[in-house]
């Protein structure tokens, strides 16, 4: 398929992505994993409709799209329905995410080195990136499954808040890749210096954008300024070999923290999320390559199993800490399994930034974790939604009988 034809296919996918955004849409899955699967089927390793050459031409656009999506995620960070999430939700969500990331890192690194046939350095890189792509849960999935009739129950608020605060630890962990393996582009800078420089740059440019949009928001300037800032950060961090997602994510956070027009900006940016995400996922799917050896399969399996275990553990912790979750630890653990688009975006960025076995394996881990989460987790979310509905209807029924 030539590049123009592929572009048109992507635009058609984006068109339907835009249509799915509407409230009337009742089909499709929260993470968009079905588009990844479509990409796998159409990709060079199965049907070959999408060839490696045609996909390669889209890599710059892919990186820009992922950068934009990370900014959109940053703009929704720590928010539920436009308000700051409760501090308790914020603290517990961040801690659990960091814990999940850390444990998966150690597990995968150990399995990779012991049974996976990976070198110590590759094991560490695959482990850290697998931890990052597996740590988050998906607020989209919660909103999707629990959309109706329970609009704003305490449990939905808890799960959605957790999904909105657990992206930062894995993104920061992803920045650790340059610390473990500094790029060769800038020999004078250590990995730590690069990571900190990247994060600082995102923060400073976010403040600059907020300042520029701050005093008088002119709509025709909003898009060029915002898109320009995101692309500039993406370009510079790629040029310096810095981690890409955390700086743009921070840019999004800082813009929404500092700009007086945060609600309007967030609304406009979030509207672009789905149309941009789905074509990106289609291309990401086409890049997925099955693990080459039994050892690599073991690495992927270890990451997925570790994630399942840790999400159930998180469910147990939540049932102990929050009243809204009491007595439903197992179900909540299962409901935490769906992951957000951040997981696939991180997998894709690692694939593009670390070509070879590291990128290849991490992309497979992110797809496998998302797929398993979607299959196992969605049912739990629907059951929770049904339980919540029963709980809210019960007093009304009793009242009527009295």
């Amino acid at each position: 398929m030539n590049q123009v034809a592929l572009l048109l296919v992507l635009l058609v996918v984006a068109y339907f992505g835009g249509a799915l955004r509407s409230e009337q849409a009742r089909f499709g899955m929260a993470s968009g994993i079905e588009y990844v699967l479509l990409g796998i089927v159409l990709g060079p390793h199965l049907l070959g409709v999408l060839t490696s050459n045609s996909i390669q031409g889209f890599e710059p656009l892919l990186l820009m799209a992922v950068g934009w999506l990370a900014t959109a995620l940053g703009m929704g960070y720590g928010l539920f329905n436009g308000r700051r999430v409760a501090w308790s939700h914020f603290a517990v969500g961040s801690l659990l995410s960091a814990l999940t990331c850390g444990v998966i890192f150690l597990t995968v690194a150990h399995v990779g080195q012991t049974w996976g046939g990976l070198s110590p350095k590759s094991s560490a890189l695959v482990g850290l990136a697998s931890g990052a792509v597996s740590a988050g849960s998906g607020h989209h999935a919660v909103n999707w499954a629990m959309r109706s009739p329970v609009e704003d129950s305490p449990l939905k608020r808890l799960l959605s808040s957790l999904g909105n605060v657990d992206d930062l630890p894995p993104l920061l962990a992803l920045s650790g890749l340059v610390v473990l393996a500094p790029p060769t582009t800038t020999r004078d800078w250590s990995g730590w210096q690069l990571a900190i420089a990247g994060l600082s740059f995102g923060t400073v440019l976010g403040a600059a954008v907020a300042a520029l949009l701050g005093p008088r928001l002119r709509r025709f300037e909003l898009w060029p300024v915002l898109v320009g800032a995101v692309l500039l950060v993406v370009g510079i961090v790629l040029r310096l070999g810095m981690p890409m997602l955390a700086p743009v994510f921070l840019l999004g956070i800082v813009v929404t923290l500092l700009s007086p027009h945060r609600t309007e900006i967030r609304k406009l940016v979030l509207a672009t999320e789905r149309p941009l995400l789905l074509p990106t996922l289609l291309l990401a799917g086409a890049l997925v390559e099955a693990p080459h050896t039994r050892g690599e399969w073991l690495v992927v399996l270890a990451a997925v199993l570790a994630r399942i275990f840790l999400q159930f553990f998180s469910g147990f912790v939540l049932s102990l800490v929050f009243r809204a979750a009491r007595g439903q630890g197992t179900l909540i653990g299962q409901a935490l399994l769906p992951s957000s688009c951040a997981s696939l975006a991180m997998g894709l960025v690692v694939y593009l930034a670390r070509p070879g076995e590291v990128g290849r394996l991490v992309l497979v881990v992110s797809v496998a974790a998302t797929l398993v989460g979607e299959v196992l987790g969605a049912r739990a979310l629907y059951r929770l939604a049904a339980l919540e509905q029963e709980n809210t209807e019960e007093p009304r029924v009793l009242g009527e009988s009295v």
Binding site: A14, R216, G228, G235
Partner: protein, 445 residues
């Protein structure tokens, strides 16, 4: 929006903030370019797009203080960031950014057609008719003659035999009567102008597109035997030209009707639809050997005049164009071959001055003959100086059709377009301000 923000009360604070942000961005990119001179194409492309967008908007804000149009800001940002000044963007990246031009030209043509209302055309029909005749015949002749007389100072034309020189002069003359729909629309969008000058400028510049595209195709037919002795004007070529023109009008009409129906019955995701048209439809039109600009102008014209969806589509183009046009003009700025301009400047300036004075004289004459109102007599020429994408696009076609003189010819075109591109928008905005038409859009029915 917060009207009480301190910087809103004191615009100079906002200006200083913008200047500081621009300096910051430039310094960071400059430092990065020094630190990592050879970057991957992905990194270079993303950073270049980001810089041109941010630099273009901030530059336009800063220049607005001295009443210069936004377009000038975009162009200046591109020139400064480009390969000949700060070298923040290299040649390869500037070439890759050219992909945006396909979309930008489609949007410009579509918006151009949408601005052509039958009522406006009727209102200025007499001026338009006389002006088009004068500019097409006398304008081509004068610009061509100037080229012929100056040819001894033009490296690639100095040694041409007289017939060949006449052929090249004819092509030059045709390019000289091309205008810039994008610059016109950009200035009108910024100034929110309305009035007799605005309506005449829109109608003239947009309809001149159609005239120029048609005349250029004919001029290439005539120039071929002059440049290549032994070849003749064949009926096949005329047939091809007719096919191109009628085919473009037919496809454009169909597209316009389809767009009107889509807007009426579906009407969502317009930005994606525009991207689809800009890249996919343009490709299809090329495949059919039709003229994309003409096709999109006709489509826009049909939507505006045969449905009630014109304003809606124009609004969607404005939103998409907010990003695309900044990149388009900033890339045009980065494209400017400054060393070439330095080398050819005496000829380029002479040809630019001849074109400008011819346009002014002919437009004044046309206004007098058409008995135009005083504002048109005084300022009617102001939108006719700018040149940009259409002229460059035609020069690419000429380069392809006449490879012997094409590259050098195109360089001279780029040099003169550079001058017109910088000067034209400033003059047009000045005229709209002086004619007191700026900011009047929506005030009159």
């Amino acid at each position: 929006m917060s009207d009480k923000a301190p910087a809103a009360k004191r615009p100079w604070i906002a200006g200083l903030l913008q200047l500081a942000a621009l300096l910051l961005v430039t310094l960071v990119l400059f430092g990065t370019a020094r630190l990592v001179p050879n970057s991957s194409s992905e990194a270079g492309l993303a950073a270049a797009l980001g810089l041109l967008l941010l630099g273009g908007v901030l530059g336009s804000e800063i220049l607005e203080v001295i009443k210069l149009p936004h377009l000038t800001g975009y162009l200046v940002a591109g020139v400064l960031a480009g390969p000949y000044v700060l070298h923040l963007i290299d040649h390869e990246t500037v070439g890759a950014l050219g992909e945006v031009n396909t979309l930008a030209l489609a949007l410009i043509a579509l918006a151009g057609g949408l601005e052509l209302k039958v009522s406006t055309l009727r209102e200025v029909a007499r001026s338009l008719y006389i002006g088009t005749l004068l500019h097409t015949f006398i304008g081509i002749a004068v610009a061509g003659l100037a080229f012929f007389l100056l040819r001894r100072w033009i490296p690639f034309a100095a040694h041409l035999a007289a017939p060949a020189a006449i052929g090249v002069a004819l092509l030059w003359g045709v390019l000289a009567i091309s205008r810039s729909p994008s610059a016109t629309l950009g200035i009108l969008s910024q100034t929110k102008a309305d009035g007799p000058l605005t309506r005449f400028s829109l109608a003239f510049v947009m309809s001149s597109d159609i005239v120029v595209v048609t005349v250029a195709a004919g001029a290439m037919l005539v120039a071929r035997p002059l440049l290549f002795p032994g070849t003749e004007i064949s009926l096949d070529s005329l047939n091809h030209l007719a096919h191109e023109l009628y085919g473009s009008i037919a496809v454009g009409t169909t597209l316009g009707l389809a767009l009107a129906l889509y807007l009426r019955f579906v009407g969502r995701n317009l930005i994606i639809v525009l991207l689809f048209l800009g890249y996919g439809f343009t490709e299809g039109v090329h495949y059919l050997h039709l003229e994309p600009l003409l096709t999109f102008i006709v489509a826009g014209f049909v939507v505006q005049n045969l449905s009630e969806q014109g304003d809606r589509l124009l609004h969607a183009i404005d939103r998409t164009g907010a990003v695309v046009f900044v990149v388009f003009f900033a890339t045009a700025g980065a494209h400017l071959d400054l060393p070439l301009l330095a080398q050819l400047w005496p000829v380029a300036v002479s040809l630019t001055l001849v074109r400008a004075f011819t346009s002014i004289f002919l437009q004044r004459l046309s206004s007098r003959l058409a008995d135009d109102p005083p504002v048109l007599r005084k300022w009617g020429w102001s939108a006719l100086i700018s040149q940009a994408g259409l002229t460059l696009g035609l020069s690419v076609v000429i380069e392809r059709e006449f490879p012997q003189i094409g590259a050098a010819f195109r360089s001279l075109v780029v040099a003169t377009v550079a001058l017109n591109e910088m000067l034209g928008p400033i003059l047009f905005k000045l005229a709209l301000d002086r004619a007191q038409e700026s900011g009047r859009h929506g005030q009159e029915t």
